[in-house]
């Protein structure tokens, strides 16, 4: 088990390093001076930038300076909000995105998994078809279109929910549904096919032969086994939610990190773009690492093989 964890940590570190390098290279590939003609910058700011990035020094030195800055945790100053550091922006905005993300995850996962199991248990009957239709729609309609529709129909036309901003729990409902819809859909489909596969296994028949009731079989035998593959997708799932926040926060005017990111892109505020990308990247890499480690503890097949002596 420990060797597995160490290997994963190692890969994660390499991934982060690659990410930093790629972002650095890309930033330097931008034609022209990124900070020169975009706006009139006061000389003090320019000087700060030069110092931070080492713009007058050769590329290699810039690279190490860049690395140094990042390792120190210093992500520089925003160009748009000249007095704010990128760290500052992230620290302030991320909690909103986090709340939105977590709510959407909970919403999508619980409903999606439940629907998935129900669909599989009623295979080829009404509930199955309905679930699959909902699921396919959730996967196909881009979340910003869902967001737009929700906003229009439930917010503007019928005035059931507030249309934008984030001032209380009720404000969070529409964005959560919009962002979580894709999760609901994908998880429902995956859980359904995972459960269907489990249902076909010999041990389910053997469990039935033991005279166990349906509830017991579902609880003890089916769910445990069908959920395992789903856990491995939690990593990519978070990535989906993360990128989803860019648009949803925009539509619903939520002051989260996604909104600042998109704004930064439109303003060409490079420190913000770079810093946020790095932040997101590291966040996801660490999340993936955690999910993998947790999975290693949950699936007895992995756990035992490792403890028994490195048969991986």
């Amino acid at each position: 088990m420990y060797k597995y964890i160490l290997k994963r940590i190692g890969t994660s570190i390499i991934t982060i390093w690659v990410l930093i390098t790629i972002t650095f290279l890309l930033m330097n590939a931008i034609p022209g001076e990124p900070f020169s003609d975009q706006r009139k910058l006061p000389p003090q700011v320019l000087e700060n930038l030069n110092e931070y990035y080492g713009l007058d020094k050769p590329l290699i030195i810039q690279y190490f300076k860049h690395m140094g800055n990042i390792l120190k945790g210093d992500l520089g100053y925003s160009l748009t909000y000249k007095t704010r550091t990128v760290n500052d922006i992230i620290a302030q905005a991320f909690p909103y995105s986090a709340q939105l993300g977590i709510q959407s995850l909970i919403f999508g996962l619980t409903l999606g998994l439940a629907l998935g199991i129900l669909a599989a248990l009623h295979h080829n009957r009404a509930l199955d078809y309905i679930t699959m239709i909902i699921a396919v729609i959730g996967v196909s309609v881009p979340n910003f279109i869902i967001g737009g529709f929700l906003q229009y129909f439930l917010g503007v036309k019928y005035q059931l929910f507030p249309v934008a901003q984030w001032k209380g729990f009720i404000y969070t409902i529409l964005p959560t549904i919009a962002l979580g819809s894709r999760i609901l859909a994908t998880q429902a489909r995956m859980m359904r096919s995972s459960t269907l596969e489990v249902l076909n296994q010999d041990y389910i028949k053997a469990a039935k032969a033991k005279g166990l009731s349906k509830t017991v079989i579902i609880g003890n035998h089916i769910i445990r086994n069908s959920i395992l593959p789903i856990i491995t997708t939690l990593g990519p799932l978070s990535a989906t939610i993360l990128t989803g926040t860019f648009v949803i926060e925009n539509i619903f005017a939520i002051p989260g990190l996604g909104r600042y990111f998109v704004q930064g892109i439109q303003d060409l505020d490079y420190p913000v773009i770079l810093g946020t990308t790095l932040f997101y990247g590291v966040f996801l890499v660490v999340l993936n690492l955690l999910v993998d480690i947790i999975y290693g503890f949950i699936d007895p097949r992995i756990k035992i093989v490792d403890l028994a002596g490195d048969r991986l």
């Binding site: 053997a206 005279g211 003890n220 445990r224 086994n225």
Partner: protein, 344 residues
């Protein structure tokens, strides 16, 4: 003279499967019974309907696409085919239990093996967790697992095939069932484990008085294990009788062919293994005469047209074959010489 008590009686069972276009008649009218404390064997090729029969007794056939066309299965005064699912649940595992062919995949890979035994106990015998654990360990010991206390905590993938099968048997025995159905219990095992498991089944029958239904395609393992044999072909029982009569005095050409194809360790150097040419008929258009006729050396005109009647050859031994008719030519079955079966 013993008065044998009929524990289970299957009467004219017909089971079909409805696929998209056609009906597959898996079991076409079989009848047999099982006495208390007895071990019987149902023998036949793949696809002859023996597994379907076993699963019908347990009510494990998915209905659709399966369908009981006709028949009754009497146990304890009730017709199992007419019980509700809830009633069946109280019979499965506790009165009649089953062991399957693939032991490695018949166990939940994410659950400790011991728990898979105790979960039934907690339910049926209403034992608390600790008592259930103790009994589960006891069952593992009876099933022949060394160090059952450690075994309790293992996961299926840590065990070998033979050990998994023992666990399956422990599960099946845990509630002291009256009948244990073993569906090809040794097919997936090597020779040594085969013997161990068969011996275990015999011990169970002797020590607990459990009746056993052994389903297999291997006539050889039947000899030591069962008292009565039912030979199945294409959904029908073609011959049945006490085991020694079937081995020494069988009357059906299919049974002869089965016996001829048993590999014999005393085979001469250049002798080939006998096989039965051809394949069983497709069960969606079963032939109207004797199902074995197309492959039978002794087939006669009447065999192709008309289903043979079931005739009693001697006490307890009956066969469905036109060769028994007085108008049919005399045919000798295989005999025994020097410990070897020789073809007539």
């Amino acid at each position: 003279m013993e008065i044998n008590e009929k524990l289970l009686e299957v009467k004219n069972l017909k089971v079909s499967f409805d696929t998209h276009d056609y009906e597959v008649q898996a079991v076409r009218g079989i009848s047999f019974h099982l006495d208390k404390g007895e071990a019987i064997a149902i023998v036949g090729e793949s696809g002859c309907g023996k597994s379907v029969t076993a699963q019908s007794i347990m009510g494990l056939i998915d209905m659709p696409p399966g369908r009981i066309k006709e028949g009754r299965i009497l146990f304890n005064g009730q017709d199992l085919l007419r019980l509700t699912e809830k009633q069946m649940q109280s019979i499965r595992g506790s009165k009649i239990s089953m062991v399957f062919q693939e032991p490695m995949t018949s166990l939940n890979p994410t659950m400790k093996v011991g728990k898979q035994i105790s979960e039934g106990l907690v339910k049926y015998q209403h034992l608390n967790k600790r008592a259930a654990k103790e009994r589960a360990i006891e069952m593992l010991r009876i099933a022949g697992i060394q160090n059952p206390e450690d075994g309790f905590n293992q996961y299926p993938h840590q065990l070998s095939g033979g050990m998994c099968q023992r666990v399956m048997i422990a599960i099946a025995l845990s509630c002291n069932p009256k009948i244990l159905i073993a569906d090809e219990p040794t097919t997936a095992l090597d020779l040594i484990n085969k013997k161990h498991i068969l011996d275990l089944l015999k011990d169970i029958q002797k020590n607990f008085g459990t009746s056993i239904i052994l389903i297999t395609h291997d006539l050889e393992i039947v000899a030591n294990t069962a008292q009565k044999v039912f030979v199945m072909y294409a959904g029908l029982i073609v011959e049945s009788g006490p085991v020694h009569k079937i081995f020494y005095n069988s009357k059906h050409p299919y049974t002869w062919a089965l016996m001829n194809s048993i590999p014999n360790i005393k085979l001469d150097y250049k002798e080939q293994l006998e096989t039965i040419e051809g394949s069983p008929p497709d069960l969606f258009s079963p032939p109207k005469g004797c199902p074995f006729a197309p492959r039978c050396k002794y087939a006669m005109k009447i065999c192709a047209d008309t289903m043979p009647k079931n005739i009693q050859v001697e006490d307890g031994h009956s066969v469905s074959c036109w060769l028994q008719h007085h108008l049919a030519p005399r045919v000798e079955g295989p005999g025994w010489k020097g410990g070897k079966i020789y073809a007539p």
